[in-house]
């Protein structure tokens, strides 16, 4: 069983997820107007948080969510208008719950933070309710979910034929006096789908002379054919009174689930068998096999919950609550298309091992080739394919949609534009583009900064926009897509663009460039990335936080990425981030210079060509070569890394491309494709540009992985000063 601490962690995590769902729904309604579905969703989220908080005796959370729930319920049944005021208040409540979640996590003062804020919010919630129609002011407190709800999925056995949900309902004996009428419930179910069959079970109904008419003795077995989601179905039973038991079996569940049902229900197996056959939940064969399997396992299959209660380990309400929680988990699992949460560290370890596996497989391949052992070579070739698949799936595990980081921006844009008195709408596309989860987490800060900049400096005030003949509301666009082994994220606005004159003037004022230096338009824009640069004429509290674009660039470069800026005055600005898909493994192209080996990331290799120097020294001086009529700048790796010695008769050029620029790497030998794990360089070498990492070859030799983007970038800069011989200082291998 989970201990309380880890359950607490799970609770905080769940709470945060629910809150972000809630916030997304609220923001959406704020933009697009009220929506029943979303109000229900927000209500459910608040309700779930309340329920879970109850388990941990977090009274302040329970009380607060209860107040929210009351107001939301009024919105839900239409007695309270779903206007911007109400939504704004609910968003503020979400914020407060976020704070409480942090409090629970850190256990500060029992997680009870800012009680005054909370009291104010509760007051506002109450005023909200009281301010409207008065007949709802005496709102009855909402019933928490009291019924026991179990979804039986089964874990073993073959799936059954039935394509209907089997619903086994045993309402509390008090249901009539609690105002529950199963007929109404069943009528509601017909809205969700087709009631294929209903069996009303009257086995325990006494004779009329002994009947107390306000006590229910009825049970129901229901077959419902529906395409609705599980939570839509359980929702129908949300207000079952305490003491009710509801068991659901999804379509095509494993037979196991029915065995459990047979065990759990009070009726005899024979009677239940009859009922299940009547409902067409099971075929006769399936029933027979279920009964056989049940007989075999005997009493050992007593449900865990009952064992716990019997042994007095856990009091019944806790178990009921835990089951309730479990049910919600399951519902959530359906929603998130069955996600499994795995600790990031475990994944990293897996990736590490897969990395070693890739190296080991490469070593085996090389040695088999050397020994010319045909059979082994073939076997290893098969093995390599498998290893490749494992590598791909292992890396896939780390992939997450970039939308995870985009999700936080609707809220940021809303808050910032309010603060600045601007109207800004946010458009997002490509949110499903995947990249390494580790990268996603690190992108949040730089992107936030970029958004702040855009809203603060980029998009103009309403008046200025109208004066410029633009629509009064600005637009911020997020876009993500894949491009040759990288992911590109673009943030663009339709604001005023960047004034090059102002940038240059500012740079001169700050002494970043001498006054008379000739700079290209691009070079001027790039000044923005220099440390300590701010073009805002009026430094606001939004972007004047001491974090400049230089920090953004450093962060992106630290992720082996690049940042690029395009801006047209009066039209807008686009920031383009280009990042590798993953940090862990690359497909490389192995090349040799003298006895050294280097790895070029394969996705940047365009082609290979001969470079016939005939061993003559004049090859050394050539920094440019014509390739199919185009000038190709060359980088001699031998010079770059200071590897002296005679040049071979034939050298080769590996043509690489990055960010639209090509360069040729001059090497001695081409050694072919090679899949490898990147071992990051230690901090000692962090200043060395041109090398992205190292790897260990199958032979045990160390090979350096070339940082092509850095090389290409250097090349570009060198075009203006071609006299530099060594691109890198102190970077000898």
């Amino acid at each position: 069983m989970m201990d309380l601490d880890s359950m607490r962690v799970a609770f905080v995590q769940e709470m945060r997820e629910l809150l972000s769902e809630m916030e997304a729904a609220l923001l959406d309604m704020e933009r697009n107007g009220p929506d029943d579905e979303r109000i229900h969703a927000v209500f459910r989220d608040a309700h779930t948080i309340k329920g879970s908080a109850g388990i941990f005796d977090l009274d302040h959370v329970v009380g607060f969510t209860h107040a929210m729930e009351n107001a939301l319920d009024q919105v839900r049944n239409g007695t309270l208008a779903c206007d911007p005021d109400a939504i704004g208040l609910f968003i503020a409540c979400c914020d407060h719950l976020q704070l409480l979640a942090t409090g629970v996590e850190k256990r500060t003062g029992e997680g009870d933070l800012e009680p005054e804020t909370r009291a104010k919010l509760v007051e506002r919630l109450k005023n909200l309710s009281a301010g409207r129609k008065s007949e709802t002011s005496a709102l009855a407190p909402l019933e928490p979910i009291n019924a026991k709800v179990e979804v039986l999925e089964g874990v073993s056995g073959h799936p059954v034929d039935s394509d209907a949900w089997h619903i086994s309902l045993r309402p509390a004996p008090s249901m009539f006096s609690e105002g529950l009428d199963p007929v109404a419930l069943l009528r509601y179910l017909t809205k969700l789908g087709t009631l294929a069959h209903v069996e009303t079970i009257d086995d325990t109904v006494p004779m009329l002379s002994e009947l107390k008419p306000d006590i229910s003795h009825l049970g129901f077995e229901i077959a419902l054919v529906t395409t609705e989601e599980r939570n839509r179905i359980t929702e129908a039973f949300e207000f079952l009174p305490k003491g009710s038991v509801l068991r659901l079996i999804p379509p095509h569940a494993r037979i196991d689930a029915y065995i459990q049902l047979l065990e759990d229900l009070p009726e005899s197996n024979a009677r239940l068998g009859e009922l299940l056959l009547a409902c067409k939940a099971l075929t006769e064969d399936e029933l027979e096999s279920a009964l056989r399997m049940q007989g075999r396992s005997g009493d050992a299959r007593e449900p865990l919950g009952q064992i716990l209660i019997k042994e007095q380990i856990v009091p019944p309400p806790v178990v009921a609550a835990a089951l309730d929680k479990q049910r919600k988990r399951m519902e959530q699992a359906t929603q998130e298309s069955r996600l499994v949460k795995v600790e990031a560290g475990k994944l990293d370890r897996l990736i590490d091992f897969v990395g070693e596996l890739v190296i080991a497989a490469a070593a085996a391949k090389i040695s088999a080739r050397k020994e010319k052992a045909r059979a082994s070579e073939e076997a290893i070739s098969n093995l390599s394919h498998l290893v490749e698949s494992i590598r791909d799936s292992a890396l896939g595990l780390r992939m997450a949609p970039v939308g995870e980081v985009f999700n936080r921006f609707p809220r940021l844009v809303r808050d910032l534009s309010r603060e600045l008195g601007k109207t800004v709408s946010l458009e997002v596309s490509g949110a499903e583009t995947e990249l390494d989860k580790a990268l996603i987490d690190k992108l949040a800060d730089p992107l936030t900064h970029i958004v702040r900049n855009s809203l603060d400096h980029g998009i103009e005030s309403r008046e200025a926009r109208i004066a410029a003949g633009k629509p009064p509301g600005g637009t911020l666009r997020f876009d993500a897509y894949h491009e040759t082994g990288s992911i590109v994220i673009e943030v663009s606005d339709d604001g005023g663009g960047i004034s090059r004159a102002k940038v240059l003037q500012r740079a001169i004022d700050r002494g970043l460039v001498p006054p008379n230096q000739e700079l290209s338009s691009k070079e001027i824009l790039d000044l923005i990335f220099e440390p300590g640069f701010s073009t805002a004429e009026q430094v606001t509290n939004l972007s004047g936080r001491g974090v400049g674009m230089d920090v953004v660039r450093k962060t992106i470069q630290g992720l082996r990425g690049e940042i690029d800026l395009v801006s047209e005055e009066g039209v807008g600005t686009t920031l383009q981030l280009r990042l590798p898909l993953t940090l862990a493994i690359i497909d490389g192209f192995l090349v040799g210079v003298k006895e050294r080996s280097f790895v070029v990331p394969l996705d940047m290799v365009v082609e290979c060509a001969d470079f016939p120097t005939g061993g003559r020294a004049d090859g050394e001086g050539r920094h440019i070569v014509a390739l199919r009529g185009e000038a190709l700048p060359l980088i001699h790796l031998r010079d770059l890394f200071g590897l002296d010695g005679p040049r071979p008769i034939r050298e080769s050029i590996v043509v690489v491309e990055y960010g639209g620029h090509r360069a040729g790497l001059v090497v001695d030998r081409l050694l072919g494709e090679f899949q490898t794990v990147i071992k990051p360089l230690s901090h000692l070498f962090s200043g060395v540009r041109g090398i992205g990492g190292s790897t260990i070859l199958g032979t045990g030799e160390v090979a350096l992985i070339l940082d092509v983007p850095a090389l290409v970038q250097r090349m570009e800069r060198l075009e203006s000063s071609p006299t530099s011989q060594h691109l890198l200082q102190g970077a000898s291998a």
Partner: protein, 109 residues
């Protein structure tokens, strides 16, 4: 709930249930049906005037059936009104109207 009784053919007591058989009047309805049930071994319930029935009401009819069954007394439920038919059909109890409940075969008409 109103119950009007009349003696039919073959000594069958015909009881016509009126208005509503619901939770609100359940205790009262229970008492009256007990009296009716005790007064004849052959009973026919006419449900044509019963305009409203809920699950609590259905349970009363089921309890009545239980009792008649246990005692071997005849029970027929006939001419259900539309609302009654609807409720019975949603509960999967339509067959109540087809059955003639008794253990003594010779009494079956």
């Amino acid at each position: 709930m109103r119950i009007s009784v009349a003696m039919g053919k073959q000594g069958i007591l015909r009881a016509r249930l009126g208005d509503a058989l619901t939770m609100a009047s359940a205790v009262d309805a229970c008492d009256r049906l007990r009296q009716v049930s005790e007064s004849s071994e052959r009973l026919e319930l006419d449900l044509s005037s019963l305009q409203d029935i809920d699950t609590a009401g259905v349970q009363i009819l089921l309890a009545l059936r239980k009792e008649r069954q246990a005692k071997g007394h005849l029970l027929r439920m006939v001419q259900p009104s539309q609302p009654v038919q609807d409720v019975m059909s949603i509960l999967g109890l339509e067959s109540l109207f087809d059955e003639v409940l008794t253990v003594s075969k010779e009494q079956t008409p």
